[in-house]
């Protein structure tokens, strides 16, 4: 279905939301369902223009509940699918995000974060949905969320989100923000043949009576059949066994939920990605992500000029959290500085992993603008002192 010519290989000057849409198309996404919401709407607009040209389906649904469900349905129809939204819409997607986790349905959700709670700041940035991404759906589950900090990363990370969702069979989140979504920069789209794609593993056996749609492989991920292929599978959001049949017992719950969490935990080294800058020998490490990673650079350079040994751990994946790396750094540094456009969310993870080995200093900001680098600089100096 996908052709090389569908990928817009070359150099472009585009905004982050457009780059995200192109990343999805390059990943083989051919189904988009969404509902307009600032500041994510450009993703839908781009998809509505592009997908009809390349054999894909674009549908504007009646709300975000419907959008999330439609992408799950489309995925079972055998087509890579995505939606894009922002805070209020993300809240509405939470229940069916859980359905996607429980039914192990590959798909991608882009959340271009804006200020909240509630309607908050529709046109201005925040990073306050990162814990909602982790814990927003009811029940226990492990999730994957990526945090791009530039239009190039909007392309790269959206593409990677598809690969991860197909590989581990769950809805994968891309947590961007208003500034990254609307920022226009150079984006390089590689030639189609240079893009590595992962497509869901299919059952190795043809349809037969004893087919077990949820029997995992050694990586704890079950191969996936699509609807219409003759497997006659049952897929339910209820706790179920390998046959897909609902089983309402503690034993079935333990087996299923443990596997759903373990398939992420066991493979976390393959999933986790960080970018480190000058962390060797650093006294202070700024742990940041998305737009705040970029704001931090100015503060880091200023501190370095003042003689402070400071580096950066940029979280390219927020979830799973890079526990091992933060623990290792915590044993070496004087402290962590965590600037984020919220009143303190990822800082709890940093603090948990630092486990008292070093100081953790939050630089909170409720959103609406980036941090003033001077505030981050002051925090770096304070921790270094």
């Amino acid at each position: 279905m996908s052709r090389a010519s569908d990928v817009l290989s070359g150099e472009h000057f585009i905004n982050g939301n457009t780059a995200s849409a192109e990343g999805a198309i390059a990943a083989g996404c051919r189904f988009f369902a969404g509902y307009p919401i600032t500041p994510s709407t450009e993703v839908a607009e781009r998809m509505s223009r592009r997908l009809p040209q390349i054999g894909g389906t674009f549908i504007q649904m009646e709300d975000e509940l419907a959008s999330m469900c439609a992408i799950l349905g489309a995925s079972w129809g055998g087509v890579k699918s995505m939606t894009a939204t922002s805070g209020p819409g993300f809240s509405l997607m939470m229940e069916n995000f859980g359905l996607g986790v429980m039914t192990e349905t590959p798909s991608v959700i882009v959340n271009v974060m804006r200020g909240g709670p509630s309607t908050g700041l529709p046109t201005l940035a925040a990073q306050a949905d990162v814990m909602q991404a982790r814990w927003g759906t009811h029940g226990s589950c492990d999730v994957i969320a990526l945090a791009p900090s530039s239009p190039q990363e909007m392309f790269d990370f959206t593409l990677r989100a598809f690969n991860l969702s197909e590989r581990y069979r769950l809805p994968v989140m891309v947590l961007s923000d208003e500034i990254v979504g609307h920022m226009t920069e150079k984006v390089v789209i590689p030639p189609a043949e240079g893009i590595e794609l992962f497509d869901r593993r299919k059952p190795s056996e043809p349809p037969s009576e004893g087919y077990l749609p949820f029997e995992p492989g050694p990586d704890l991920v079950p191969p996936m059949a699509n609807a219409g292929e003759g497997y006659h599978m049952h897929v339910t959001g209820l706790t179920h066994d390998e046959r897909g049949y609902p089983i309402i017992t503690a034993a079935a719950q333990t087996k299923l939920v443990r596997r759903l969490c373990e398939k992420i935990r066991q493979n976390s080294r393959d999933i986790i990605a960080c970018t480190e800058m000058e962390t060797d020998g650093a006294e202070v490490v700024v742990v940041s992500y998305g737009i705040s990673a970029r704001t931090s650079w100015k503060a880091i350079r200023a501190a370095q000029r003042g003689g402070v040994k400071v580096g950066q751990l940029k979280l390219d994946t927020l979830w799973p959290f890079p526990e091992e790396r933060v623990r290792a750094l915590a044993g070496k540094v004087r402290g962590f500085v965590v600037p984020e456009l919220n009143m303190g969310q990822m800082v709890y993870e940093v603090e948990r992993c630092a486990a008292g080995q070093c100081r953790t200093r939050l630089v909170p900001h409720p959103g609406g603008e980036t941090h003033d680098p001077a505030d981050i600089l002051a925090a770096i100096r304070e921790v270094a002192a």
């Binding site: 439609a70 489309a74 995925s75 359905l99 049952h234």
Partner: protein, 311 residues
Amino acid sequence: MTEGHDEHDLQHHNGSSSVHRDRSGTVALHERHHRETGEHPLDHLLRPGRIPHIWCTGCGLGVVLTAYLNGIQKAGVDLDKVAIVSGIGCTGRIAGYINLDSFHTTHGRALPFATGLKLANPELKVSVISGDGDLFAIGGNHLIHAARRNVDMLVLCVNNFNYGMTGGQVAPTTPVTARTQTSPYGCWEHPFNLPYVAAASGAVYVARWTVLHARRLVESVAEAVRHPGFSFIEVISQCPTNFDRPNKGGEGIDLMHFYEKKTVVKNGIDPKEADIGLYTPIVCGKFVDQSKPTYDSCYTNMCTMARGGKK
């Protein structure tokens, strides 16, 4: 019946009223097959190890399940291409018993899931089977929009006038004055007339039957599955455990007698005239049967335009 209730041996009981009453050719054939093989003729369409089902004694859902399976076979479609999608509730459990691709989604969201499934693979024959609360309360917005878009699918809505799975609460279909667990003094809200809502929202095929009309329901399912576009069938069912007991409607068999005596078939009437009261006569029939371009055909035309082709 509450969610998570043990599945126990109540069943094969549900279909019995209609089997004895409705001696159609299909039923006679079924009985012969059963005598000769010891198997139920629909066994191949039921998931092994899933029957008995969870529904209460006297519930109409057994009839609906049987009628759907007979109807989908009668429609002559490739059963490997059939996908059943349901929401949550007693009716929502139907998907789990059928040995075809089946999806038991979240409360109210069967329709958008089904929309995604159908548009991703237009070869699929999608049926949404769910209850009145699922499709018209929590999922009401999705219903009117799926009908408006004329997505090619069958929606089979079982209306038992209450939320059965949670123990019998008031629903958007509960007739005025009916008592439920959350309308202990009698329902004071105006109910929806489901065929009227479906028709007004754009459904191209709209019918209503009761679980007594098993044979007509089979015909209607077969016809609706073949009909391109958004087809809607309401099936009125008794709920002797949760709705009919507090309202003194009697046992399952009493309700079947009620349907026999008090339903009037009026094909082709304006569904506006098909309001339902508490144990008042029920108007059944095929109310709407019209053609309109489906979502899929409209989308395909738009794509041809987008690629710079003619149209």
